[in-house]
């Protein structure tokens, strides 16, 4: 399938999902508002801590808000786009995944297009607001490169989180139930990327930079943009490497997906 045909089918399937969600208008609006509130309250809780302690591991309130907004947006967007993978466990249990395999379109495309949590717009919007406020209050000498790093970090962050959703879904082909391990990296990861990683133990920081590269979502690019010293003393070049790392992480995720589908076809559910 050519890329434009693929995109047009994807948009059509998404459109159907969104029309279906909008059938329940009141529920939709309440959930948008609810998700937005959760993000704001999360941040208010953090800000309250700053009232008592002037900084968090040496990070000012504005700097933490920057991380919070950037990480929150990356997670929110990937959560909105990839919720079909999060719900794969249900599709396997109810047998709708069998239907996916009887259609002449790749299973990956169909699962990707099977859900689109528009209600996450509330969360994404609030995270964007926190990021905008942070940009206004932090003392940063903006250069074109810093702007590029910010935008590429956001895109890379979406891909890194998405790869985790896909790997989690691939594991579901073995476990049937979504595993708590997966949730630890997705929902857990969303908290991880919203705070400075210098608050965590060394081994944990290394794990989230070199194994599951969540450090590249917000922490490392923020060190560059905010001009902060790296307490881990890793090569400074890593702070610009988010796109490469995202690409390198997406490849094994696709491999895991293929293995998972193959496993499903040999075992059933």
């Amino acid at each position: 399938m050519r890329i434009n045909e693929w995109a047009s089918l994807y948009v059509r399937l998404l459109g159907a999902q969104i029309r279906a969600q909008l059938q329940y208008r009141a529920s939709f609006l309440l959930q948008v508002a609810g998700h937005g509130m959760i993000t704001v309250l999360d941040f208010v809780a953090t800000a309250v801590l700053f009232y008592r302690f002037p900084n968090l591991a040496g990070w000012s309130l504005g700097e933490v808000a920057f991380l919070f907004g950037l990480g929150g947006m990356a997670f929110g967007i990937s959560d909105m786009v990839c919720s079909g993978f999060d719900r794969l466990s249900i599709a396997i249990q109810t047998g709708t995944f069998d239907r996916v395999l009887t259609r002449p379109v790749a299973a990956f495309t169909q699962v990707l297009a099977s859900d689109f949590q528009l209600r996450r717009l509330g969360q994404i919007g609030q995270a964007a607001l926190v990021l905008a406020v942070a940009i206004a209050i932090v003392d940063v000498n903006w250069t074109p490169l810093k702007l590029v790093v910010l935008l590429s970090a956001l895109v890379s962050g979406v891909f890194i989180f998405s790869a985790i959703w896909v790997i989690g879904a691939a594991i579901t082909f073995w476990t049937v139930q979504t595993s708590e391990v997966t949730n630890a990296f997705t929902y857990g990861g969303s908290y991880l990327v919203q705070y400075p990683m210098s608050i965590y133990a060394d081994w944990l920081r290394h794990f989230f930079i070199f194994v599951v590269p969540l450090g590249f979502v917000s922490y490392l690019p923020s060190l560059y943009i905010l001009g902060r010293a790296d307490p881990l003393e890793l090569p400074a070049a890593l702070q610009l490497c988010s796109p490469l790392v995202a690409l390198a992480f997406v490849i094994p995720a696709c491999g895991a997906w293929r293995l998972g589908v193959h496993h499903y076809q040999s075992t059933g559910s």
């Binding site: 047009s8 159907a16 029309r19 059938q23 069998d98 239907r99 259609r103 040999s266 075992t267 059933g268």
Partner: protein, 328 residues
């Protein structure tokens, strides 16, 4: 032949607990379940074949392998010249699949939206889509609910929508898994008429699993019976009827309860108070003879003669009571 299955097998490995509690979870022992244990058959283009057997016999597993959902663990198969396990995406364009208990329609959207989405999934050209849609609206009478959300449709309406959805890309092969389950008598009859029509007019090859022998009687000239993963009968429904339909059961209501009656050429199948069921072969004796013997030996209030239901015959074949030679 459009479907060629040779020695097809599917083995699932399940883990059985050893002992109880937490230890049992840890010490699991693998057990191989042979869901399909070496099945061979062929289907010619344009045939309509019924595939029946008790729950857990391997019907659905076979269908899943023939659609490419599951990879077989042994044997060979060809569907319209393709290997389902290897050419799944290509095969998907040539088969229609209806799972009676699971709709493929978009639950919250009007039926027409689902058909339009499927048109894009299967890349049906706009002109062909218009023509086919018009024909399905006509044949299945979809008009009154084409713009109704699927979740508000009755089961019968939904199944008609599902049939249109499965046939929109004009597949030469249609698999139906329990297509009439849960439908009322009128909806069942309508579904059967439609299937007979597309088979006759368009030459669609149909393989259907069902629990309802009336589906088979109305639609299928050929019957495959499967049990414990093996094919135990492959032949016409008429052949089963002529071979096993010679049995009759006489239901006798006596004045009083009595021990099982002894009548030459009959077997007492059941005793329920004063009522007894006597089965006999028409070749061995006649109903008249049986009745006169019974009347001579006991006080009889009422007598009825029952012919065997096809359900009963098939059930007894797969319970092993009747021996079914293959290919009769």
């Amino acid at each position: 032949m459009i479907i060629d299955v040779h020695d097809l097998a599917k083995t699932f490995r399940v883990y059985r607990k050893r002992g109880s509690g937490l230890l049992g979870v840890l010490r699991r022992e693998p057990v191989d379940v042979h869901a399909v244990a070496g099945i061979s058959f062929t289907v010619e283009a344009g045939e309509m074949v019924g595939y029946v057997g008790p729950n857990g016999a391997g019907k659905s597993t076979t269908i899943k392998m023939l659609t490419g959902i599951l990879q077989p663990s042994g044997g060979h198969m060809r569907v319209d010249g393709l290997d389902p396990a290897r050419d799944r995406l290509e095969l998907a364009r040539r088969i229609g699949v209806v799972f009676g208990q699971r709709t493929q329609l978009w639950w919250d959207l009007p039926l027409i939206d689902s058909l339009d989405l499927l048109r894009h999934i299967y890349r049906v050209p706009a002109e062909a889509y218009r023509r086919r849609l018009a024909s399905f609206v006509d044949l299945l009478d979809l008009g009154p609910f084409l713009h109704t959300p699927v979740r508000q449709l009755s089961l019968g309406q939904r199944m008609r929508g599902d049939l249109a959805a499965a046939l929109l890309h004009e597949p030469p092969i249609l698999y139906l898994d329990e297509p009439t389950i849960g439908l009322d008598v009128v909806a069942k009859a309508r579904m059967r008429d439609f299937l007979a029509e597309i088979n006759r007019e368009r030459g669609v090859t149909v393989l259907l699993t069902t629990h309802d022998m009336a589906d088979i009687g109305r639609l299928c000239s050929r019957l495959l019976i499967i049990d414990h993963g093996r094919l135990i009968y492959d032949g016409s429904l008429a052949a089963i009827k002529s071979r096993f339909g010679g049995e009759r059961t006489i239901v006798v209501d006596l004045e009083d309860e009595a021990p099982p009656l002894k009548v030459e050429g009959t077997t007492v199948m059941r005793v329920d108070g004063p009522r007894q069921w006597l089965r006999f072969e028409r070749r061995a004796t006649t109903a008249a003879q049986v009745i006169s013997t019974v009347v001579a030996s006991a006080r009889v209030r009422d007598v009825a003669i029952e012919e065997p239901e096809i359900e009963d015959i098939v059930r007894r074949i797969y319970q092993g009571e009747l021996e079914a030679p293959r290919g009769c």
